[in-house]
Amino acid sequence: MSPVAPVLDILSLPERLASAPVAADDAKLVERAAAGNTGAFATLVERHSDVVYRVAARIVGPDEADDVSQDALIRAFHRLDQYRGDSPFRSWLLRITHNAALDSLAKRRPTPVGAPGAPTAGGDAAQRDPSFQDRGPDSRGPVSRLEDRERRERLVLKLTELRPEHRAVLVLRDLEGLAYEEIAEVTESPVGSVKGRLHRARNEMVEIMRNNSYDWELPE
C-alpha cells in the first residue's frame, strides 16, 4: 500500500460522511422532540451518541468522556427550541459537545506528573479507553497486537498534551474527518481560522511526537 494512502483516506472522509437525507430526517426529529416527543429525541441520541462520545473522549480523555457526553446530550435536549436548522443537527450537537468538553478541561486542575491519577502510558485512564481493546480474532500474533495497543496508548497520551483548542480541531479533522466548514460551525470560528489552527495543531503534534519519543519516526 502506498505510504500516502492512509492520508488520502483521511482527506476523502468528509465527502464520504456527507449524508443529506439523514440531516433532513434529523430536522424532523428535532421538531418532534422539541414538541415533547421523547421518542424522537431517543432516536437522535441513538443516531449521534457515538460521534458525541468519540469527540468527547478524544478531547477530555476516557475518564470524563461519559460525563461530558451526557452533559452535551442533555444540554442539547434543553436547547432544542434554539436549533434553527440552518446547519446539520450533527454540527449543532458537536458544537455543544465541543463547548462542554472545553468547559470540562477548563475546570480541571492541573495534575502533577507522577501524582496519583496523572496519565501514564498503560495507566488506568489509558486502559479505560476502548481504543485499546483488542477487537476479536486477529491473524497477527499476541506480541504484535500488544505492541500495537501500547503504541495506541502512547499516541492517546501524546494527543492529550496538545493545547485544547488544537486538540479539538485535530480530532474533528484528522480523526472524525469533518469538512472544514463543519469544523468552523462546531468551533464557531471562520474557516480560515480553522485551517490555520489545524496547521499549528499538526505542527504541535509533530513536536510532541518527537519529544521524548523513540517510536515515532517522523521525517524532518
Partner: protein, 81 residues
C-alpha cells in the same frame, strides 16, 4: 482573527507521517457504553416531567414576591405620611 495563509492539505512530510500514525486511533475509535443513551433518556424524561411544574412554581413565587413588594411599598408610603 489570526488567519495564516491557508495550508489546506499540503502536509509536510512530518505532518503526513503524524497523520498516518493518528490513523491507528481512527481505526480503533472509543465507543460509548450502552448506559450512555439509557442514562441520557432517563435524565431528560424526569427533567422534562418537572419542567412544567417548576415553571408554574417559579411564576407563582415571582407573583408572590411582586405582591409582597407592592405591599411593602404601600406600607412605607403610608407610614411616611
Amino acid at each position: 482573527m489570526n488567519d495564516v495563509p491557508e495550508p489546506d492539505e499540503q502536509l509536510t512530510p512530518a505532518q503526513r507521517a503524524a497523520a498516518e500514525h493518528l490513523g491507528m486511533l481512527r481505526d480503533h475509535p472509543p465507543e460509548p457504553g450502552r448506559s450512555l443513551a439509557v442514562q441520557v433518556m432517563r435524565t431528560t424524561r424526569w427533567q422534562r416531567a418537572i419542567r412544567a411544574p417548576l415553571r408554574i412554581a417559579a411564576l407563582i413565587a415571582a407573583s408572590v414576591l411582586d405582591g409582597l413588594g407592592v405591599l411593602g411599598r404601600r406600607r412605607s408610603q403610608a407610614s411616611g405620611r
